[in-house]
Symmetry: C2
DNA sequence: TTGAAAGCGCTAACAA
DNA sequence: TTGTTAGCGCTTTCAA
């Protein structure tokens, strides 16, 4: 391990003061120096293999140029896309992201949030927000700017960038209605997340506006956004008192699970039951019968939330929108058909 | 923004020296203090909401406790799984990962590698290695420990943790042979990656050992591991002089693309042509006809490579294995059948 | 067992 | 335009 070259080394070599070296190397302060000196210093720096030390700079400037990203699970492509979107703006601004996975476990979330603060992150992009804010996050908001992406925290002033959950569900319900469905069930997402609750209430509103019946047995709530929960909820609905011809699911993975459960009962989608999803995850188009779903702009959510966060980090007084809602579109594939004639 | 509590604040409060506070707060040096003092300091620290400052500590100890992870693309679940595996060992050891995406672009890789070094990372987990090492990485290896995961760098002493690429391909070729195939084509991965080259040469060896014909027209090389390249290569093979009954692909996405290209030609898999993949990515089981593939331990690759890196970071003199190869298994689904009788 | 003092590499206010 | 000086918050000798 060669020990790194420091400003002091360059100063000794070029026979100027370290502060002059520091100025020469910073494009913003470089202008106040003779171009001759700037030249000499930069040349020496390059020749000696100088690399700026972010740690030392951070201690002095009180800015680490590191942002924390709280994710439920990077393995989930929905969140990975948000990461790329955020990265596309962080990187050119010189910010590097530290990514941590909460697995939607409040305890992990709390612990990891503190880890990020100890790391001295300049801001936090929270993609793992739960509706109820964690105590430390509420407290930490005084210490560091936070923006939530994809989901939002209720009863807090933390800005969020989300997809139009309500409109997405409305599109699906409307589409099912257009195809002739009148008895539509809902597999809801976890009520601990804003997406789960928003989509469930949008479902109630949309069906209500269309004058459809909506008994309690028409909704089953998943505790996680995954296939096994989709399966469990679909079975619950199938065993219940509500005779439905379609299921609008709160996301694609729940829908995939639901279709599987249908199959195990000898029912096929869309012939016996129509199913819709949410998100339009990759490869979905290849899985029969082709899930009709809502396409969201995950990359855009990442990009916009990162831009917002940067604004908050660089200008503490800036006013930023409390909520930014991105438009969604409907993707029609093969999982929706007219209901079976009785 | 409340300004953070420092050791100095606690020292003033508890009327001891900052060095004593530092000792009291560190479990390793705590023992040399009176338990009364330790108590007093810890209580005060908790009460005042003290949070250790990693940046300041890092400057002093010359360890950032940050590791860099170079990935081709976090959006790809194969790599996301490696991240989770690595995280599962980094986190308990107190390391936080900075993740950057190279998109397999050598220029980005080089630039991002330097970004990581400037950040003062204690080590680098390189999941985006190309066969030919980049100049700066070769140089940087003197400054910081590096381990490659999933892929390896040729002609370098950088340790790697990889899957058994050769055995995986052998399993697929053997399986195709067992089903009666004698004319097998190969869609190879990019020769810039060790996986692409390893799998291609394993294909040549395996077919050779079985005494199968292998003209040049039996192999098409993809420039990226994605569906469109799989499609392009399959079309190339279909238009070539080699009449094959099966295609062994270097990974699942190439295979998916190949199956699609087959379909566009009016050929079906497996009736007309059998196809195999590599990796066993999520949701693959849901895509008809069910890709027969090689299951690899991506989480394990992440875990083991992280363990290796930690060993190198904490004990510079430690001898670590140059190459660690993880076993693979064969997953048989519906994409392989007996060849059509002529 | 504790304190005093130095310094990690850098930036920035102040002086010249 | 450049140098001087003083830290940022922490760890770690060395001394007591």
């Amino acid at each position: 391990m060669n020990k790194p070259v420091t400003l002091k080394d360059i100063a000794r070599e070029t026979e100027v003061d370290v502060s002059t070296v520091s100025r020469a190397l910073d494009p913003r302060t470089r202008t106040m120096l003779t171009s001759e000196v700037v030249d000499r210093v930069c040349t020496a720096a390059r020749r000696m293999g100088y690399r700026k030390n972010h740690i030392a700079r951070g201690l002095r400037t009180r800015r680490s140029m590191i942002v924390g990203m709280l994710l439920p699970d990077i393995t989930n492509t929905v969140f990975a896309a948000i990461v790329r979107g955020a990265e596309s703006v962080f990187e050119p601004h010189g910010y590097a992201p530290i990514i941590v996975n909460t697995d939607d476990d409040p305890r992990r979330e709390d612990a990891l949030f503190n880890v990020l603060l100890e790391r001295g992150v300049d801001g936090i992009l929270d993609v793992a927000a739960r509706r109820e804010n964690s105590r430390s996050k509420a407290a930490g908001y005084a210490d560091v700017p936070i923006v939530t992406a994809n989901r939002e925290i209720e009863k807090s002033s933390i800005p969020s960038v989300v997809n139009d959950d309500a409109e997405g569900i409305r599109l699906m319900v409307q589409h099912l209605h257009d195809c002739g469905h009148r008895r539509i069930a809902h597999v809801a997402g976890p009520a601990t997340t804003s997406t789960g609750r928003k989509r469930a209430s949008a479902f109630r509103r949309a069906t209500g506006e269309l004058g459809l019946a909506l008994p309690g047995a028409a909704v089953a709530e998943a505790s996680r956004y995954d296939e096994s929960e989709g399966r469990r909820c679909a079975e619950l609905l199938l065993g219940g008192r509500f005779a439905f011809t379609a299921i609008a699911c709160a996301n694609d993975r729940l829908a995939l699970g639901a279709i599987d459960a249908l199959g195990r009962r000898g029912l096929t989608c869309p012939e016996d039951v129509s199913v819709t999803g949410f998100n339009d995850i990759p490869f979905l188009n290849l899985v029969p019968p082709g899930l009709t779903t809502v396409r969201v702009q995950q990359f855009g959510v990442g990009r916009l939330s990162a831009e917002l966060l940067i604004k908050m980090m660089t200008d503490p007084g800036a006013t930023v929108p409390r909520t930014t809602i991105l438009p969604v579109t409907s993707i029609e594939r093969g999982s929706v058909a007219a209901p079976k004639p009785i």
